[in-house]
């Protein structure tokens, strides 16, 4: 088994005017997905990320800290999962259960490098 990171992009609820009924529906879908992965023992963790934040860079000896990131909102990272799968194909299949495709969200699936200790 390999580890994969799902990077969730876009699909921000703040922009989509969901009704209380729709919010409840979404909550149920996410809850079910997490629980499903946990039951299969392939869920290592994950969290949603808040909007905004800072970008830290260093030029020579000088740090620069700016507000951001402000990419197009459909590219903005909104959260991540780490899951286990046999290979990238299986991981991709799992990613298809992401509940927010209908809000223009997408999932970037990336393999986590194994570190030999």
């Amino acid at each position: 088994m390999e580890k994969y990171m799902f990077i969730f992009k876009g699909g921000f609820y703040e922009d989509s005017n969901l009704s209380p009924d729709e919010v409840q529906g979404k909550m149920g879908q996410w809850y079910k997905w997490v629980q499903d992965l946990q039951e299969k023992n392939i869920y290592s963790g994950g969290e949603p990320l808040l909007k905004g934040g800072k970008i830290v860079k260093k030029n020579g000896n000088k740090f620069s800290v700016t507000d951001g990131p402000f990419p197009e909102s459909k590219e903005l990272v909104g959260g991540y999962f780490v899951i286990s799968a046999k290979d990238i194909n299986e991981a991709t299949e799992i990613a298809k259960n992401y509940p927010d495709f209908d809000l223009n969200g997408s999932v970037e699936v990336r393999q986590v490098m194994k570190i030999d200790m």
Partner: protein, 430 residues
């Protein structure tokens, strides 16, 4: 969503968020003041989104409602802490700030169970204020009390979101002018205002019951919301005064009797069925029993309201064994009383239909000719009823004329279809 035993999300009641959104909006509106109702709406939305983002990871709390209210309360405290010096909130809360109370203490009081009940009632009276146009009252109620989105309200009214947005913002502008207060009216004002709430709830109910609306799910939602809000009125001590409660019981009985007949009103293809063609076994017995229970409770006090009479009429329909066993005489007696109380032409028309069952179509046509045409001119049932009655007398050209006019006058596809079928049959008879 498929739910298994293990799936705890299925333990959350359907429409919980919608319902709690209404309750939270009421409390927060009281805290922030009616002028800041949008702020209340934003806090509610933030609260629900927080649940959406946390519960999948933390698990669903044992008491979801308590979690939501606690979160909303903390958000309200944050808001007041940050902005209380430069923003105007409700007078009530501003006064409390100047006293010995701490902010947290004040807010905690506002979020007690009894206060929440009062606030919901305040919200009902605000949304159903007679200074607002009736369609705005319904839209506002659905938004603020029932947690519907603009999109969902538009769907319920078979209209677009722009129309509903306009309706809501006009209502909100009116509220912000200051004449509409967020309060439970008292004294002589109360009677007038409770009457208006009742008629708005009945309109809301009819919006859902009206067969012209295609979407079954949203129709049932509206029916349930109208009933739920009427039951909220019943549960509040304010309706113990006078005969209010008896009248609301009658309204509820009427709603339940109609609701019980709902599954039988259309066939599998959504075509409307006439009463005599309906499968009476499909009527929901549980709802009928509930209606009868409410009707019995409505029989207190000495005042007979229109709702009492209408519920009484419905009672004789839903408790008849079949169409042939309907006791038309008893129904006509009630219609006579109703017509005395409110001689609207629409009630007169319905009364005439009962007369046709007892004394024949000719007698009914004579009754209808005495009604005010002005009130019936735009009412398609006026034309379809006359079409039906003329058909019964054998006057086919007149029948045809009225059916054609009725088709023109209704927007409802199922109604049009029913009328066209009748016209076709009629053309064969020619």
């Amino acid at each position: 969503m498929h739910s298994s035993d293990k799936d705890k999300s299925s333990q959350i009641v359907e429409h919980l968020f919608r319902r709690e959104a209404g309750r939270m909006t009421s409390v927060l509106t009281r805290v922030f003041g009616i002028e800041n109702i949008e702020l209340a709406e934003d806090v509610v939305q933030d609260t629900l989104l927080k649940a959406l983002q946390q519960w999948p990871f933390t698990g669903i709390p044992d008491n979801p409602s308590a979690w939501l209210f606690k979160t909303a309360k903390n958000k309200a405290i944050d808001e007041l802490r940050h902005n209380r010096l430069n923003k105007k909130y409700s007078e009530e809360i501003s006064e409390l700030f100047n006293s010995e109370w701490t902010l947290t203490g004040v807010i905690k009081e506002f979020f007690s169970e009894n206060e929440i009940k009062d606030d919901q009632l305040r919200m009902i009276f605000t949304c159903c204020h007679p200074d607002l146009p009736p369609e705005s009252q319904i839209a506002l109620s659905l938004k603020n009390l029932c947690g519907f989105s603009i999109k969902e309200i538009a769907k319920a009214f078979l209209t677009n979101e722009i129309t509903i947005t306009k309706r809501l913002s006009r209502a909100k502008d009116k509220i912000k002018e200051g004449s509409i207060k967020f309060e439970i009216p008292a004294g002589s004002e109360l009677e007038k205002r409770i009457k208006n709430v009742q008629s708005t709830l009945y309109l809301l109910f009819n919006e859902g019951y009206n067969s012209g609306k295609q979407d079954i799910l949203i129709r049932t939602d509206l029916i349930n919301e109208a009933i739920r809000l009427a039951e909220l009125l019943i549960e509040h001590p304010i309706t113990e005064i006078g005969n209010y409660r008896a009248e609301i019981y009658a309204l509820l009985a009427l709603m339940y009797f109609h609701y019980a007949r709902n599954p039988a009103r259309t066939d599998d293809n959504g075509n409307i069925l006439l009463l005599k063609n309906q499968d009476w076994n499909l009527w929901d017995k549980k709802l009928i029993v509930k209606g009868i229970e409410y009707l019995e409770r409505s029989a207190t006090g000495n005042k007979l309201s229109e709702y009492h009479l209408q519920a009484g009429i419905s009672y004789f329909y839903v408790t008849a064994e079949n169409f042939e066993k309907i006791e038309w005489g008893k129904i006509l007696n009630l219609y006579n009383l109703l017509y005395e109380m409110n001689s609207s032409a629409i009630i007169g028309l319905n009364r005439a239909i009962v007369i046709s069952q007892m004394n024949g179509a000719e007698a009914a046509i004579d009754e209808i000719k005495n009604l005010s045409f002005e009130q019936l001119e735009n009412y398609y049932l006026y034309y379809s009823t006359l079409g039906e009655l003329y058909l019964q007398t054998g006057n086919l050209p007149e029948a045809k004329k009225y059916f054609e006019k009725a088709i023109q006058m209704t927007d409802s596809e199922p109604e049009k279809k029913l009328l066209r079928t009748k016209l076709e049959k009629l053309n064969h008879m020619h």
